[in-house]
C-alpha cells in the first residue's frame, strides 16, 4: 500500500487512472450492449429506419434533400435501393465533400457497418430498389473465373483495364482501380452503376455472370494473385514497360558502359 501511495503523485498516475477507467467502461459496454440488441429485435425494422433517418438528416440531407427527394446539389435517392447506399457510403464516396472535382473519389469510410445498414434501410423505405447482395450471391462458390474473364473483357475492360487497374475517362473523370475493392462492393457497383458507370441489372448480367466476374477479378487482381513474370509494373501495359526499359534497362547499360570505358588499359607513363 505504501508503494502505491508513494507513486500517486507520479506524472503518469493520471494517465494510468484514465486508462483503467476507460477499460472498465468499455468492458461494461461490451457486456451489456448485445443484450440491448436482443431486446430490440421485435421492432428492429422500424427502429433501424428511424435511426437511419437520423443519420441521413445529419450526413446526407444537405445535398439530397430532407426526404431524399434530391436538390440541385445531389440527385434524388428514391428508388436507388439499399445496394447503392451500401456501396456509396461503405467505400467512403458518400458523404461527398462539398467541392468535388470531376468525380467523387473513394476515401476512408466514416460510418460503421451498422450505421450504413440503418441508412440503407431508410433509403430503401423511400422506394423499391436493389437490395444489398448476400454472401451467397458474390461468394466464390460455383463461380467460373475463366468465363468471368471473358465477360470482364467484354463489358468492363474498356474503362477498367484488362485486370481492373482503372483508366481515364473524359474531363478528369476516371474508372477507378478495382484493386482492394470487396466482392460485395463490386457486385453492388455492377447492380447500381455508380457515377459514370452503366448499371448491369440481372437482366443484362445475370447473378451467375456477376459472380464469375468477381471470381475473375479475385484471380487476377486479388491479394493472393501472383505475378509469374516478376514485378507487374502497375499492370498498365506498354507505357510503364517503356519507362522501365529506358530508366532501368538502358539506364543500367549506360552506367555499365561508363564503368567499362573508365577502366581501360593505360599506356605506361614514363
Amino acid at each position: 500500500m505504501k508503494k502505491l501511495s508513494a507513486r500517486r503523485r507520479h506524472p503518469l498516475a493520471a494517465l494510468v487512472v484514465l486508462l483503467l477507467a476507460l477499460a472498465c467502461t468499455g468492458g461494461l459496454y461490451a457486456v451489456f450492449a448485445p443484450a440491448d440488441k436482443a431486446q430490440a429485435d421485435e421492432t428492429a425494422q422500424s427502429l433501424t429506419i428511424e435511426e437511419g433517418k437520423k443519420l441521413y438528416t445529419v450526413g446526407c440531407a444537405s445535398c439530397h434533400g430532407t426526404g431524399g427527394q434530391g436538390t440541385s446539389d445531389g440527385p434524388s435517392l428514391v428508388g436507388v435501393g439499399a445496394a447503392a447506399v451500401d456501396f456509396q457510403v461503405a467505400t467512403g464516396r458518400m458523404p461527398a465533400a462539398t467541392s468535388q472535382g470531376a468525380q467523387v473519389p473513394r476515401k476512408k469510410n466514416i460510418y460503421s457497418q451498422a450505421e450504413i445498414d440503418q441508412l440503407a434501410a431508410y433509403i430503401a423505405s423511400l422506394g423499391a430498389g436493389p437490395a444489398v447482395p448476400t454472401e451467397e450471391q458474390y461468394g466464390p462458390e460455383g463461380a467460373d473465373a475463366a468465363k468471368g474473364g471473358e465477360l470482364f473483357r467484354n463489358n468492363c475492360a474498356q474503362c477498367h483495364n484488362f485486370t481492373g487497374k482503372g483508366g481515364a475517362l473524359t474531363h478528369g473523370k476516371y474508372a477507378p482501380s478495382l484493386e482492394g475493392v470487396t466482392p460485395k462492393h463490386i457486385y453492388e457497383a455492377m447492380l447500381t452503376g455508380p457515377q459514370n458507370m452503366p448499371s448491369f441489372p440481372d437482366s443484362t448480367l445475370s447473378e451467375q455472370n456477376k459472380k464469375d466476374i468477381i471470381a475473375y477479378l479475385d484471380a487476377v487482381n486479388g491479394e493472393d494473385t501472383e505475378s509469374p513474370g516478376g514485378l507487374s509494373l502497375g499492370g498498365l501495359g506498354p507505357v510503364s514497360e517503356g519507362l522501365f526499359a529506358w530508366v532501368f534497362g538502358l539506364g543500367a547499360l549506360i552506367a555499365v558502359a561508363v564503368w567499362v570505358a573508365a577502366r581501360t588499359a593505360k599506356a605506361k607513363k614514363s
Binding site: 472535382g101 470531376a102 467460373d144 473465373a145 475463366a146 468465363k147 474473364g149 471473358e150 473483357r153 467484354n154 475492360a157 474498356q158 477498367h160 483495364n161 484488362f162 485486370t163 487497374k165 483508366g167 481515364a168 473524359t170 474531363h171 478528369g172 476516371y174 474508372a175 475473375y216 484471380a219 487476377v220 505475378s227 509469374p228 513474370g229 516478376g230 514485378l231 507487374s232 509494373l233 499492370g235 498498365l236 501495359g237 506498354p238 507505357v239 510503364s240 514497360e241 517503356g242 519507362l243 522501365f244 526499359a245 529506358w246 532501368f248 534497362g249 538502358l250 543500367a252 547499360l253 549506360i254 555499365v256 558502359a257 561508363v258 567499362v260 570505358a261 573508365a262 581501360t264 588499359a265
Partner: protein, 545 residues
C-alpha cells in the same frame, strides 16, 4: 607465303598447333593480310562510343532468344480450347498462337524468362538505337564520309520499329490485337487503295485467319534478315571510315588516338556483351513484360483501356490520339482526315531527322571529311534542331499515353490532348530557341575559361582591401581542347551586279541557302572563340583580370 613458312618450320621441327591451324586456314581463306590490317585497328575510348555496342549486343540477344521461342511458338490462328496450367483462362477459346504463347510462359522450361528477355531486349534495343542516333547527331558524327552509315543506322531504327511491332502482334492477345486493328484503321484511311491493301494484308476481312502466320514470316525472316545485312554493312563502314574522336591534344582529322582492337577492345567488347546480356537477364528476371495471360485472347469485339503500343510506336499513337476527328464526305465516299493526316505525318517525323545531315551539308557547303567530333555547344543550330526534334517526339509520346498521364497526375484527358495539340507546334520552336541560347551561353563560358582561367573558389584580399577571386590558368591541353573547333563564316550572296553592271540572277534556292547559312554561322549563332592575341594580351597584364 604459306609455303615458305612451312619449309622453315619443318627445318626447325614441328610448329605449335595454333600456328599450324592458322596456317591451314590462311592457305584456304587468305585472311592473314586482312587480319593483320584490322586486328590492330585503333578505337578511341569514350563511353558514348559504346552505345552502338549496346544495340548490337541486344540485337544478338534478341536473335538468340527469338530462335528459342520459335521452337515452341505456333504461328497459327486455328481456334483451340485452352486446358493448360493458367487457371483463369481454362476452357476459353483462343488462337493457337495465343495458346502456344501461354504454353511458352507456363509450361516450357525457361520459356517465360526467355520471352521476357526477348521483349525487354527489344525495348532496350530500340531505346539504345535512339540514344546512339542522338549521340551521332549531336556530335556531328554523321558528316562526310559517314552520311550513308547514318542512313543505314536510321533504316535499322525504322526496321527495328516494325520488327518490334510485328513481333508484339504475334501472341494474338487482346492488347496487340487492338494495335493491329489500329494499324488496319490507318491503312483503311488511305484514299482509294486503303481497302485493297487491307484485304491483301489480312487475306480478306479483318482479322481473318492469316495475319499471325504472315506477320511471323515478316518478323522472323524478312525484317531481321534485312537488319542483319544492314548491321554488317554498318559495321564494315565503321571499320572502313575508322571511328571518330573528340578533339584534344594529339588528335587530328588524320589520326585515331586510342587502343587497338586486339587485345584491348576484343576483351572489352567481349566482356561488355556478357554485361549487356547479364543486365537484360536481370531486368527480365525482376520485372514482367507483356503478361499476355492477364490480357486475354484477342477478339475483335473486345477492347481495354490503356491500350498502347510499345514505346517506339508510341509517337504514332500520339499523332492519332490528339488529331481532331475530321472527315470529308463526298459522293458517298469518306475521307477520314482524322486518321489519314497522322498517317502522313508519321513518316515525316522520322524523315525529318534522317535528312538533316544532307540539309546541313547543303546549307554550309561543307564537303570536307570530318573525323573530329563537335561538342554540341559549338554547333548551336544543329543542337537546337536535335533538341526540338526530341521535344516533338516526347510531346507525341505524352499524347500517346494521355490516359495514363491523366490517371496518374489527376489531370483531365481533354486538357492533356489540347496541351499536346498546341505543344506539337509550339514546344519544338521554344526548345529550339532555348537550346540555342544555352549553347551560346556555354560558348561564352568556354571563352571566359580560356581567357581568364578556371574559377578556383579562392578569395584573396589585396593589400588595399579589394577582394578578388583567384583564377587558375588552364593547362595547354585544356586550352587546345576548348579552342580546337572551327568557326566557319556564313555564305555570302556575292555582288548583286556582275562585272558589266548587269543585275545578277540569283536563284531563290541560293538566297534561302545564304539565309540559312547565316542562321548556322552568323553572329547570332556563334560566339567568336578567343584569338591568340586576345589571350596574350590578357595573360601578359599581370593580375589585371
Amino acid at each position: 607465303m604459306s609455303t615458305t613458312t612451312s619449309t622453315d618450320s619443318r627445318a626447325r621441327g614441328k610448329a605449335p598447333a595454333g600456328e599450324r591451324v592458322a596456317d591451314w586456314a590462311d592457305g584456304r581463306l587468305g585472311i592473314y593480310s586482312l587480319a593483320k590490317a584490322n586486328m590492330r585497328k585503333i578505337f578511341p575510348d569514350h563511353w558514348s562510343f559504346m552505345l552502338g555496342e549496346i544495340c548490337l549486343y541486344s540485337f544478338i540477344i534478341i536473335i538468340l532468344t527469338g530462335v528459342y521461342l520459335t521452337l515452341f511458338f505456333h504461328p497459327s490462328m486455328n481456334e483451340v480450347e485452352y486446358h493448360g496450367s493458367y487457371v483463369p483462362l481454362q476452357g476459353q477459346l483462343m488462337s493457337e498462337a495465343y495458346k502456344s504463347t501461354l504454353d511458352i510462359s507456363f509450361d516450357v522450361r525457361g520459356g517465360l524468362l526467355i520471352r521476357q528477355i526477348h521483349h525487354w531486349a527489344a525495348l532496350v534495343f530500340l531505346a539504345g538505337m535512339f540514344v546512339h542516333m542522338m549521340r551521332v547527331f549531336f556530335t556531328g558524327a554523321f558528316r562526310k564520309p559517314r552520311e550513308i552509315n547514318w542512313l543505314f543506322g536510321f533504316l535499322l531504327f525504322v526496321l527495328g520499329m516494325f520488327t518490334g511491332f510485328t513481333g508484339y502482334s504475334l501472341p494474338d492477345d487482346l492488347l496487340s490485337g487492338t494495335g493491329i486493328r489500329f494499324m488496319e484503321g490507318a491503312i483503311l484511311s488511305v484514299p482509294i487503295v486503303g481497302t485493297y491493301i487491307s484485304f491483301f494484308l489480312f487475306g480478306g476481312e479483318f482479322p481473318g485467319d492469316d495475319f499471325v502466320a504472315r506477320f511471323f514470316s515478316i518478323h522472323v525472316l524478312l525484317l531481321p534478315g534485312i537488319m542483319l545485312g544492314l548491321v554488317v554493312a554498318h559495321l564494315i563502314l565503321v571499320f572502313y571510315h575508322k571511328h571518330t574522336q573528340f578533339a584534344g591534344p594529339g588528335k587530328t582529322n588524320k589520326n585515331v588516338v586510342g587502343m587497338p582492337l586486339l587485345p584491348v577492345y576484343m576483351a572489352k567488347a567481349g566482356g561488355f556483351f556478357f554485361l549487356v546480356f547479364g543486365v537484360l537477364a536481370a531486368v527480365s528476371a525482376i520485372a514482367t513484360i507483356n503478361p499476355i495471360w492477364s490480357i486475354g485472347p484477342y477478339r475483335p469485339d473486345m477492347v481495354s483501356t490503356g491500350a498502347q503500343p510499345d514505346w517506339y510506336m508510341g509517337f504514332s499513337e500520339g499523332l492519332i490520339r490528339v488529331m481532331p476527328g475530321w472527315e470529308i464526305n463526298f459522293w458517298g465516299h469518306t475521307l477520314v482526315l482524322g486518321v489519314f493526316i497522322p498517317l502522313l505525318i508519321f513518316p515525316l517525323v522520322l524523315v525529318a531527322i534522317a535528312v538533316y545531315p544532307f540539309i546541313e551539308s547543303w546549307v554550309t557547303g561543307d564537303k570536307r571529311e570530318h573525323h573530329i567530333l563537335d561538342r554540341p555547344r559549338n554547333a548551336p543550330t544543329r543542337t537546337a534542331f536535335g533538341v526540338a526534334w526530341i521535344t516533338l517526339y516526347f510531346v507525341l509520346l505524352v499524347g500517346g499515353g494521355n490516359d495514363i498521364w491523366a490517371t496518374h497526375f489527376h489531370l483531365s484527358i481533354n486538357a492533356i490532348t489540347w496541351f499536346v495539340r498546341v505543344a506539337f507546334f509550339v514546344a519544338p520552336v521554344v526548345a529550339f530557341i532555348v537550346t540555342k541560347r544555352i549553347c551560346l551561353g556555354l560558348q561564352r563560358r568556354d571563352k571566359e575559361k580560356v581567357l581568364h582561367g578556371r574559377e578556383s573558389g579562392i578569395i584573396k584580399r589585396l593589400p588595399h582591401g579589394e577582394f578578388i577571386e583567384v583564377h587558375e590558368p588552364l593547362s595547354q591541353e585544356q586550352l587546345y581542347t576548348l579552342t580546337a573547333h572551327e568557326q566557319p563564316k556564313p555564305l555570302e550572296l556575292g555582288p548583286e551586279v556582275d562585272e558589266n553592271g548587269v543585275r545578277r540572277k540569283v536563284k531563290a534556292g541560293e538566297k534561302l541557302r545564304v539565309k540559312l547559312s547565316k542562321g548556322f554561322y552568323g553572329e547570332e549563332s556563334q560566339i567568336p572563340k578567343p584569338t591568340v592575341e586576345e589571350y596574350k594580351e590578357i595573360t601578359s597584364g599581370h593580375g589585371h583580370h
